[in-house]
């Protein structure tokens, strides 16, 4: 189910549809591919409507989640399939299959059967098969979902490099927010059949439009707050008994908002130190060393728990059980309308 989705994907961009399973991202992809038809609304490809164009005539190809390689055909025949359907001459097919296999670094494996290949290799065959007809758009449905973490990382950068080199528009469906942020030019976050936010990875991360996006992409601490005044370019809000400065557009005084704070944007200071703005009193409840830094939980006066990620050198103030102050810079807060 997909509702009220209005989305323009730019030519040549790497666009990711990101959301938890069941959010409608695969449905949206299948709509684009032509396997499903919208009950209402339109789909345009390069400016013209494609509702009445069957999947096989749409100038876009799909890389399926579990590759969907033809098990009865060799790797080369799999890759050649699209060209054979276009009745391309045999010697040209041979040449282009060789090129496509080279493109995905599978030279010399053309005679193998799909089942004789590893997951990563099958993934590459699916990619070559979808790219060989040079479609305007490549749709990828969680293509790396079945691979182990190390291979995923490798394939991520390889896919990204491939997309840059070819200039093909990639529409990439994933539930892995890290993957989406790392690879995409822009990301569309979906939830419950709706497109919540579309933007560059840093926009999505730094300026989530609502609580779902803030929690789904990375991690966020949430603070309930009320707008009490302005001090341009900042808003003055009241939260947990403290007056805080947060950067953002003016919101009517008295409105309830939610502040979203990224753990890595929080700093911890010893209690009593009062040089900074935005100080929240608390008690250090837990601190775990992760190698890349510290991960701490701070219980605020009102009982709510904030998570903070600190760089390794910040260990000086970290004594579990002690009173500390949490602080953050005004621009590091995302202000969310409370009703969302």
């Amino acid at each position: 189910m997909v509702r009220d989705v209005s989305l323009a994907i730019r030519e040549g961009e790497f666009f990711s549809l990101l959301g938890p399973s069941g959010c409608g991202k695969t449905t949206l992809l299948r709509l684009l591919a032509g396997f499903e038809s919208p009950t209402s609304g339109e789909i345009l490809l390069a400016g013209s409507g494609v509702q009445d164009v069957p999947a096989r005539r749409r100038d876009l190809n799909i890389v399926f989640q579990h590759y969907a390689l033809f098990p009865h055909l060799s790797v080369a025949r799999n890759v050649a399939f699209g060209l054979e359907m276009q009745k391309v001459a045999g010697d040209e097919i041979q040449r282009r299959v060789a090129d496509a296999l080279a493109l995905v670094r599978l030279q010399g494996l053309g005679a193998r059967m799909p089942r004789e290949l590893s997951g990563g290799q099958q993934q590459r065959v699916a990619l070559a098969r979808a790219l060989i007809t040079r479609p305007a758009v490549l749709l990828l449905d969680e293509p790396l979902g079945a691979l182990d973490l190390k291979l995923r990382r490798e394939m991520q950068s390889e896919l990204k490099a491939l997309q840059r080199r070819l200039g093909t528009t990639f529409v990439y469906v994933t539930h892995d927010q890290e993957e989406a942020l790392a690879m995409s030019d822009r990301v569309g976050v979906m939830h419950d059949g709706q497109l919540l936010q579309v933007g560059a990875p840093h926009e999505i991360y730094d300026r989530p439009v609502n609580r779902f996006v803030a929690a789904f992409i990375g991690e966020s601490n949430f603070l309930a707050a009320e707008v009490t005044g302005y001090d341009d370019p900042d808003l003055i809000v009241r939260s947990a008994g403290e007056s805080l400065r947060v950067r953002g557009e003016r919101i009517a005084i008295g409105r309830r908002v939610t502040l979203a704070l990224r753990p890595e944007r929080l700093r911890i200071m010893p209690a009593g130190d009062s040089v900074a703005v935005n100080l929240l009193d608390g008690r250090l409840r837990e601190c775990v060393y992760l190698g890349t830094g510290w991960r701490c939980e701070i219980e605020l006066v009102d009982g709510s728990v904030m998570r903070a990620s600190l760089p390794p050198q910040d260990s000086g103030v970290l004594s579990v059980g002690s009173r500390v102050m949490l602080t953050f810079a005004p621009p590091d807060v995302a202000i969310l309308e409370s009703d969302s």
């Binding site: 591919a33 069957p54 999947a55 096989r56 399926f64 579990h66 033809f70 098990p71 359907m85 089942r115």
Partner: protein
């Protein structure tokens, strides 16, 4: 096996004895007797002297005609079952699981119905001025004359197809149901039209089901004798009828019937070899 001591081996042999005995006693034994009879001289019903003349007499044009008719009717019935059964099996396999069960049950219902009732039903429908005839005449066939369908090869084929369709649908369904339907989407996505999807993806991937279904129907149809006997009349005699007649009707000629039975067995073995080769190619795919 001996390296692991005798115990598991002994147990395995123990388990195998009853079925082996059963097969020997009730299958290989009678088969051997038939094979033996087929080599004897004709008598009334058999002269226990080996001469092999029954096989020579099988080459008589009359019997070759029966053989040819049997083969062609069985092949036609098999092809028709495939053509009708494939879309049906595909349709059922693509329904939601709970509907699949119901539809599949409906396909099997004729198998559980008394066969004579079904055949007499067909006879009533196929006779001149029967329901089938009236339907065809209503559609403008036959030019006003009653159409004779009963007691023609067409009636036999109709009966065989009706009879053995479930044997085709079942293996086809099993094969199609296992198919990853995204493969069909992948083919369409890459530009394949309906025919290309069918020929390039669907049929090759369901070949084991096709081979098994064809084999089952062909085997059954080739040996059929009730359907040709009741629906086909004298002019549509098949091998099964020949076997039955030589054994049971006057003048009895057991060696002849046995030789025909052995010929049928040979044909079925060829069919099975073919099906296992075709079906085996895709194994593990």
């Amino acid at each position: 096996m001996s390296g692991h001591g005798s115990k598991p081996g002994t147990r395995a042999v123990g388990v195998l004895v009853p079925p082996a005995a059963w097969l020997t006693l009730l299958f290989l034994g009678p088969l051997g007797v038939i094979a033996l009879i087929s080599l004897m001289m004709p008598g009334a019903p058999v002269e226990w002297t080996i001469d092999g003349s029954a096989y020579q007499r099988l080459l008589d044009p009359i019997y070759l005609g029966v053989l040819w008719r049997s083969l062609s009717l069985a092949v036609m019935a098999t092809v028709l079952c495939l053509v009708l059964g494939y879309p049906l099996a595909y349709y059922i396999a693509r329904r939601p699981p709970r509907f699949r069960r119901v539809l599949f049950f409906l396909v099997l219902v004729p198998l559980w119905t008394n066969s004579l009732v079904l055949i007499y039903g067909w006879m009533v429908m196929l006779r001149p001025n029967g329901a089938f005839d009236q339907l065809l005449q209503g559609l403008g066939f036959g030019g006003g004359e009653p159409l004779t369908i009963l007691y023609t090869p067409a009636a036999v084929i109709l009966g065989l197809v009706y009879w053995y369709l479930p044997f085709m649908v079942y293996p086809l369904y099993a094969s199609i149901e296992k198919l990853d339907f995204r493969l069909l989407e992948a083919a369409r996505d890459l530009g394949a039209g309906g025919l290309a999807v069918l020929v390039r993806v669907l049929l090759p991937l369901t070949l084991p089901g096709i081979a098994t279904g064809c084999l089952l129907v062909f085997v059954e149809a080739l040996g059929a004798f009730v359907v040709p006997d009741l629906l086909g009349g004298a002019k549509s005699m098949m091998l099964g009828n020949l076997v039955q007649q030589r054994f049971l009707s006057v003048p009895q000629d057991w060696p002849m019937g046995a030789a025909a039975a052995m010929l049928m067995l040979a044909l079925l073995l060829v069919g099975m070899l073919w099906a296992s080769r075709v079906g085996g190619l895709r194994r593990g795919a």
